[in-house]
Amino acid sequence: MNNDRVVSLFMENATKCGAETFRAAGLDEAQRLLDDLLRNAKSIFCPGVGEKERALVIPPEKREEDYREASVCVEEVFGAVAETGSIVCSSEGGRVVQAGLLPPHHVAIVPQERIYETVEDLFALWGQDIPTNVTLETGPSRTADIELTLTIGVHGPERLTIIVAP
């Protein structure tokens, strides 16, 4: 499969699992999407570690350093898996994997070239040298524990937004 088809498959599956997905042609467009998304955000945590995170502008007055207090977490994640529609968060490079878990809204910037077709392709990257924490995140947090009624946003985010960017 060429990269374009892998990206579309990923977006299709992620949408099926309840994520909102966008594809940006470049960082400018990613910034515009982000501005729209963050217009009503109260407080935003962004680690500012990844290349794309550093290139994007987060309104300084809304920045929150403690992810436990933030209403939105904006971060560049490790990658994604097309087959399952999952984004992949990894602890490599000092990333705080749980930062995307606590705030009610998780905005994940996915580097387009790191969308893998299958789960096998993903794990093959590390072999036995796997980071401390690798988490596949597929759609928002959910439960059906009360009379099997699907309810979104239990302990994790109730909203997952994915922006695929080159």
Binding site: C17, V97, V119, T132, N133, T135, T143, L148, V154, H155
Partner: protein
């Protein structure tokens, strides 16, 4: 669950369950939903191929378990975890309590784990003055109500929203609501504070990987991730058969487990945790302790029922089982209900206690067809029934009846006489029994097959 050796009062439990229309409705709705979702979820997928592969991997684990256990311990220690091997429930409880007490832990948050139910960990920790909070919404509800889970994946399916609303109002002092969204929000808020203030997290694991020493945890709510990343101490309790040889075997189970369980393509979160936080890391607990528990598994592994250890606890066999669907989980009076539960209960708790639940199957084979790792449940159940008769656990009436039947059918004269009697008495038996089971016995033919052949 009682830990006595007394036989499970299965018949009485069933009577009770069948007389509870709300329970029956709840269980029916839940199992129907799971079955439909699963059927939709696996349509047009090469399931047979996947099942074969997964079954082969699980057999490989069982055939080489000592080697994988050793390898797992070494790789987990290399990754910085501390591994303890516990032979039984008692030693596992002592180990966990010791780890927590040594570090002055007062409050523990837990993610759903059947193994800790199996070893009754919560009461043991509570006795020592440690607060234990279940964080899976279903488990939390069941814990608040001081009940036992009734399904291995959806522990509170036996409760209605009204009951849960009342429970929350009473125990948490919130306004009554029967809206699942509102109730979920209440639990989220209460538990959020607990996550942030807990001293330790306890989890099970869906799988453990021998070559990397990783633990793999699937959750939908995100509590598994909370418990393993927010508190500074993480204690994982798992049994030896949870091992997989390699991280390259994971994809098969990532595909099969959620689909077989809830029909989802994938659970919301799958975390692969390899050791505690290392220098330069900002994710994970500072300390990771892994308690690897035997609790009867080595014994099972040596015997003729070993294939039950392939089970990955997906609960597909519960949802399709006509008996489970009618009576729900509590009637089994065991940590593990449903077809796989009967087998495990008999092996882990002994025939003396478990023989009455061997009746809880129609041997229809729906469980075998649904099982993602091809556990031959019907064969295991039949063999256990034989063993229970051999060990003398058949009821007296059944024993007498069977020997009488044996005597009759081994003599042609007696057999013919029996057929004649059956023809004569059939109409009376019909009248007497009304709508009971007798009324379903077909009318004996006027001229028996044997006679027609003579």
């Amino acid at each position: 669950m009682s830990s006595s050796r007394e036989a499970i009062t299965f018949r009485a439990n069933v009577q009770k369950a069948l007389r509870d229309p709300m329970l029956r409705e709840a269980i029916k709705r839940a199992t129907d939903t799971f079955v439909t979702k699963r059927t939709e979820g696996i349509a047009s997928l090469p399931m047979e191929e996947w099942r074969e592969k997964a079954s082969t991997i699980r057999m490989k684990v069982l055939d080489n378990l000592p080697q994988y256990v050793e390898q797992f311990c070494a790789s987990a220690e290399r990754a910085g975890a501390k591994v303890y091997q516990a032979v039984d429930a008692e030693s596992a409880r002592r180990t966990v309590a010791g780890i927590l007490e040594d570090r002055g832990v007062k409050k523990v948050v837990k993610a759903k784990s059947m193994v800790t139910e199996e070893i009754h960990l919560n009461p043991c920790l509570q006795e020592r003055g440690i607060d234990v909070l279940e964080t899976d919404l279903g488990e939390y509800i069941v814990q608040l109500a001081a009940e036992a889970p009734s399904h291995i994946l959806a522990p509170a399916i036996h409760k209605t929203r009204e009951q849960i609303g009342k429970l929350f109002a009473e125990k948490l002092g919130v306004d009554y609501s029967d809206d699942p969204t509102v109730l979920t929000r209440v639990a989220r808020n209460v538990l959020r504070t607990e996550f942030l203030t807990a001293d330790a997290g306890i989890t099970g694991a869906n799988f453990a990987v021998a070559d990397t020493g990783s633990l793999v945890i699937f959750t939908n709510e995100g509590n598994g991730r909370m418990v393993t990343t927010v508190p500074r101490l993480h204690v994982a309790v798992l049994t030896i058969e949870k091992l997989l040889p390699s991280v390259t075997d994971l994809p098969s189970f990532v595909r099969l487990l959620p689909r077989s369980a809830t029909g989802q393509m994938l659970s919301s979160y799958v975390s692969v945790i390899t050791g505690p936080r290392k220098p330069g890391d900002f994710t994970g607990a500072d300390e990771l302790h892994i308690v690897l528990l035997d609790n009867g598994r080595w014994e099972i592994l040596k015997g003729e029922y070993r294939e039950i250890l392939k089970c990955i606890r997906c609960s597909a066999c519960l949802n399709v089982c006509p008996v489970y669907r009618a009576i729900g989980g509590h009637a089994y009076d065991s940590t593990y209900p449903g077809p796989m539960g009967i087998v495990l209960t008999a092996l882990l708790e002994g025939m003396e206690r478990a023989h009455p639940v061997l009746d809880a199957t129609t041997l229809c084979g729906a469980c075998v067809d649904a099982c993602p790792v091809k556990v031959p449940l019907v064969r295991l159940l039949c063999r256990l029934r034989e063993a229970s008769v051999e060990e003398g656990f058949a009821p007296l009436l059944e024993k007498r009846g069977m020997s009488a039947y044996g005597a009759v059918v081994s003599s042609p004269v007696m057999f013919a006489f029996g057929q004649t009697l059956a023809r004569i008495f059939w109409p009376f038996a019909q009248k007497l029994s009304g709508y009971g089971p007798m009324s379903r016995i077909p009318r004996p033919v006027a001229r028996a097959f044997r006679r027609r052949m003579l």
